[in-house]
Symmetry: C2
Subunit: 254 residues, 2 copies
């Protein structure tokens, strides 16, 4: 099997490495930025191409892993590609490829990727979708080489998943950042929170989050919440978030 990767961002990089590791040959990498393409290509033994017209039309699969709003435009330039075309986005419909290719799909790894942080792809859920059963079967056989958690998810449900991922990943990370700011402003080191952050995530690997909620809001501990709000008097943004989330937690009290 021969693959071509379009893109050189976090997802493209980790996916490229995972494909190579799974013995899928990535022959070419193209990116809007040639240097980034070259850097990724070098890591996975592929050729960087500077022009999309140089794409190997006989490759089995073309993986488009670029910004959401660039997928349509780039796929317009891939006419003539005979293999399977997929994108890796959580938020873009399968239909973005309609009337452009015979066989197309979605290959969405549900994980947060940073370029320099290694990940174990085997544990990453991969959500696949395709425009016909043959293509779906091909995508599945590829996905199971990379991950132990492959499932078919239709576009509408994938969008829900992508939204839920914002609540489960992007927002918690921002709250970590606010905690860090509060600490460093007060001469304390963020490192002291790391075990707590990890344990909070570890706990919900078995239990459901509702069952393990702790803190003043779930106890409706008004005294502590008032003290916290007083400490946040110089942090307007944090104060608003504190109130909004505490109110939301209180509504879950049975």
């Amino acid at each position: 099997m021969k693959a071509v990767i379009i893109g050189s961002g976090n997802v493209a990089t980790h996916l490229g490495k995972a494909l190579t590791k799974a013995q899928v040959q990535v022959s070419q990498v193209w990116s809007p930025n040639y240097e980034n393409a070259a850097a990724l290509a070098k890591q996975i033994g592929a050729d960087a191409i500077s022009n999309l017209t140089a794409i190997a039309l006989d490759a089995d699969i073309c993986v488009i892993s670029v910004k959401d709003d660039a997928i349509a435009k780039i796929s317009d330039q891939l006419t003539g590609f005979k293999g399977l075309v997929v994108h890796t986005s959580g938020a873009v419909s399968l239909d973005v490829f309609a009337n452009k290719f015979d066989n197309y799909g979605v290959f969405y790894p549900l994980q947060t990727f940073s370029k320099h942080k290694a990940v174990d792809f085997k544990t990453i859920p991969i959500c696949i979708e395709a425009n016909n059963v043959t293509t779906l079967a091909k995508l599945e056989s590829l996905a199971v080489k990379l991950s132990d958690h492959v499932q078919e998810v239709a576009s509408e449900k994938r969008k829900i998943l992508h939204l839920a991922a914002v609540f489960a990943c992007n927002f918690p990370n921002h709250l970590y950042a606010l905690a860090e700011k509060i600490l460093t402003d007060n001469g304390l080191d963020f490192a002291i929170l790391r075990p707590l952050i990890l344990e909070t995530a570890v706990k919900v690997q078995q239990d459901l989050p509702l069952a393990v909620q702790t803190g003043p809001a779930i106890r409706n501990d008004e005294i502590t919440m008032a003290k916290h709000e007083a400490l946040l008097s110089n942090y307007q943004q944090c104060l608003e978030i504190y109130r909004t989330l505490s109110e939301s937690i209180k509504k879950t009290i049975a």
Copy 2:
């Protein structure tokens, strides 16, 4: 060394087990609820006592691990106790014990505890504070038996830490709960988010959260955010949280 534990909640339970494991004898457990005291006492080979007047006045340390607003009242009933008295709260001042005992302090393990989830105490930061240097030294020698991360933190800074912990633990867990609700309402399983939640916490074990922020808000991807808000039209609470947190993330864009 002989310890007495007042309380039978999550912190009391895990601390009692950790003390026992570190060869510190816990001789007695008292709790407002006798059955809970008995349950904890049984697990750690202590006696449950039904009345605070039965406390062993010769114990070396009395650990008060009860609700914040009960600490003052309970400590009033411990007059005559000759050993060291500590509480385990993040939000209550050392001064709660002033003029009640000769030697007192705070022993605050910065972690989220659930009764039935085992924790490795060695990794848990323990913040200590005392009313004199001798007591501080005693607390430190006890704390290092339990944890590799012991530090002196004064009451005012401890309150900041406790506040930051709400942002780093309680609020992220609530966001996991909202993600779960969004998924289950749409026939999707929370399990698919677990690797993402874990990786989000693992990432900040090395990096600072600001450096690894991902998602539509940090990219200022208005199209995706508008789609997400549309999906949340029936979730007023989630929508408000989505907007508040997205705005806050956007303000961090360099």
